[in-house]
């Protein structure tokens, strides 16, 4: 009894430490983004929106934000589509080299980012696509499609195997069954995969830095500002990026969880 309680408190403490180490820097970054002092020191100066005004007026930041937005939305769409297609292929068909097929699909996230980035850069330079927004989109799609596939595959594995056949049985050809049954069934997974791949792409730095050229994304411009000098603008941009990403991730989780809960409650 006593030992149970001790273990419980130990685990709570451990969890608290993990959360502190993850979130403390982010919270400080957010706090300092409203601080008037140029250097991040305590005690704090006065409250200010100066840094937000600066980035608001900086055309480079706007340009980067626009690039990031285009890239992350396109990546989310492409990666989710690819993820859905591969997950469905895996669900629907049996073929000889399937383990190889799956391994290939799941490979990109296992390659160190720098190596992936260098390889992409070399390849894009060769085919004349280096330094374009489209090249970042392609590279990020390759990186994030496996996540989309994993999420959608999980959802498909929860589907009654008769569901698709039931649609055919009621007069739907394969395409209509796909559109009217498989896609609606996977909708929560599709939405959350869209949000997650968008978030991953929005945050991704290494690949973007290598191949973006003049078309910088937000993480790239942050590095540029930091390497130049110490500038609290970074805190302001960082807060904005953090807010965007965490919102996407939370949406993804909520969409997946509410659907599952709903299905579970009524199954009993």
């Amino acid at each position: 009894m006593n030992r149970d309680r001790m273990l419980k408190w130990f685990l709570y403490g451990y969890l608290a430490l993990v959360l502190i180490f993850i979130f403390a820097p982010i919270i400080f970054s957010i706090i300092f983004s409203f601080n008037s002092d140029r250097f991040p020191t305590i005690p704090l100066g006065s409250f200010t929106l100066k840094w937000y005004e600066t980035i608001w007026q900086d055309p480079d930041v706007w340009e980067a934000a626009r690039n990031s937005l285009i890239v992350s939305l396109s990546v989310a769409a492409i990666a989710t589509f690819l993820g859905f297609a591969t997950a469905y292929t895996d669900y629907r068909y049996r073929f000889k080299l399937k383990p190889v097929y799956l391994a290939l699909i799941l490979l990109p996230p296992t390659i160190p980012l720098i190596i992936l980035a260098l390889a992409m850069l070399a390849w894009f330079a060769k085919i004349g696509l280096a330094g374009k927004v489209i090249s970042i989109i392609i590279a990020h799609s390759v990186l994030t499609a496996p996540f989309a596939m994993a999420i959608i595959r999980l959802r498909l594995s929860q589907m009654d195997v008769s569901l698709e056949a039931a649609a055919w049985n009621l007069g739907a050809d394969q395409w209509r069954a796909l559109r009217r049954v498989i896609v609606p069934f996977c909708r929560p997974a599709i939405i959350s995969s869209f949000c997650l791949t968008a978030a991953v792409s929005f945050d991704e730095f290494a690949i973007a830095w290598f191949i973006s050229g003049l078309n910088k994304t937000i993480p790239v411009i942050i590095l540029e500002i930091v390497t130049g000098n110490i500038d609290p603008q970074v805190n302001a941009i960082g807060s904005f990026v953090f807010l965007t990403s965490i919102t996407l991730v939370v949406i993804a989780q909520v969409v997946l969880m509410t659907r599952e809960k709903k299905e579970k409650v009524h199954h009993g």
Binding site: D160, S162, L163, A165, A166, A167, W168, N169, L170, G171, A172, D173, R176, A177, R180, V181, P184, F185, R187, K262, E263, V265, H266, H267
Partner: protein, 362 residues
């Protein structure tokens, strides 16, 4: 004789090395309620899936109204199915589920809704038409699945163990509803089940399958009382099978000599036993007399009582014969309580020759 709706002509289905269905020949008539029954893995579900076009035969032909269906894709057939899992679309409500088949056939939205509501009403779940599928009970879902399949007014309805997920009380109610529905609509029902009570309660004809073969086709009473072979006799009902050597045959009566004694068995049509051959006969557990004193004549076996199984008004007694084999007897509970039997006590079972059923070497 009614017209043939479906013909299975030497149909074979193989999955790799495994033969699921082997040279199957039979006909399903228009307006017939046919049950396909057998233990799991006997090929009954494969047969149903071939009818729906979800599997293509490896050999032979399946014809529907004379048209060869072997390679017609499922969506071009009109063979709706009620699935074991029901396979209702969880993201649609009850009415939208029912409308699905109509929508695929290009029926306009107004007509669709009207027809769907008509069917939900007919199956007494009209009030749940706008409800989320997941919020319905097992029996209500069952009715939605039925409405979804019947709304397109097909000539044939396929049912794959549709009642297996329901509790016993509900099964009885759904059985009478299915029977009534089939009579009213006059369409063909093909009902796959492993449950004898479901098959016998509803079907006009029953197909018994074993390891990909048809073991027997017939009306429930014949299957029950006149099994054609050992498999059917063991699978259906509570039967005792006795094997011996044919001693003599008079055309109407055959004498079989086995380790438990000599028995006279009435001969059905089509059997011509050869003297000296090994042959078996079936005596149903509910067709024997049970006594504590030895009957004077007839077919008698002496047994001792091992155990009893009580199911309501009927009791099954498990007896052991002198050669150690089991013999089952079914009698009324009130008869049993009059007899005052003891465990391991001596009893006699006896029967008239015309109660036994000759199955030959099978």
């Amino acid at each position: 004789m009614a017209d043939a709706l479906v013909e299975f002509d030497s149909v074979v289905k193989r999955f790799g090395d495994f033969t699921a269905v082997e040279t199957m020949n039979f006909t399903i008539n228009e307006g017939e309620f046919i049950a396909i029954m057998g233990p799991s893995g006997c090929g009954k579900t494969t047969t149903l899936r071939m009818l729906a076009g979800l599997e293509a035969p490896s050999g032979g032909e399946i014809r529907m109204q004379g048209r060869v269906m072997n390679h017609v894709p499922p969506h071009e057939r009109d063979t709706p199915m009620v699935w074991q899992s029901l396979a209702l679309f969880p993201f649609l409500n009850a009415r939208e589920n029912v409308e699905f088949g109509l929508e695929m056939r290009g029926v306009d939205a107004v007509t669709r809704k009207k027809k769907a509501l008509e069917w939900l009403d007919r199956l007494e779940i009209g009030e749940f038409s706008e409800r989320d599928i997941n919020s319905l009970s097992g029996g209500q879902k069952q009715r939605v699945a039925l409405a979804r399949s019947l709304v397109t007014e097909p000539k044939i309805l396929l049912l794959d163990e549709p009642l297996s997920a329901l509790d016993a009380n509900l099964v009885i109610r759904m059985q009478s509803m299915l029977s009534r529905l089939q009579r009213e609509l006059g369409i063909t029902f093909v009902y796959v089940t492993h449950s004898q009570s479901e098959a016998f309660a509803m079907a006009d004809r029953v197909v018994i399958m074993s390891r990909g073969h048809i073991a027997q086709i017939g009306i429930p009473k014949d299957i029950y009382r006149a099994p054609e072979n050992r498999f059917v006799a063991e699978f259906v009902g509570r039967n005792n099978i006795i094997t011996g050597t044919v001693k003599s045959s008079s055309g109407k009566l055959v004498t079989i000599d086995g380790s438990l004694g000599k028995f006279k068995v009435a001969l059905g049509r089509g059997h011509q036993p050869v003297i000296g051959d090994v042959a078996s006969f079936v005596i149903a557990a509910d067709l024997v007399h049970l006594t504590t004193t030895k009957p004077k004549a007839g077919n008698v076996i002496e047994c001792s009582l091992i155990s009893e199984e009580f199911i309501g008004s009927v009791v099954t007694l498990f007896l052991e014969t002198s050669d150690g084999s089991e013999f089952k007897v079914q009698i009324q509970e009130r008869e049993l309580s009059d007899m005052d039997l003891k465990h391991m006590g001596r009893v006699f079972v006896s029967w008239e020759s015309d109660r036994a059923h000759f199955i030959g070497a099978g």
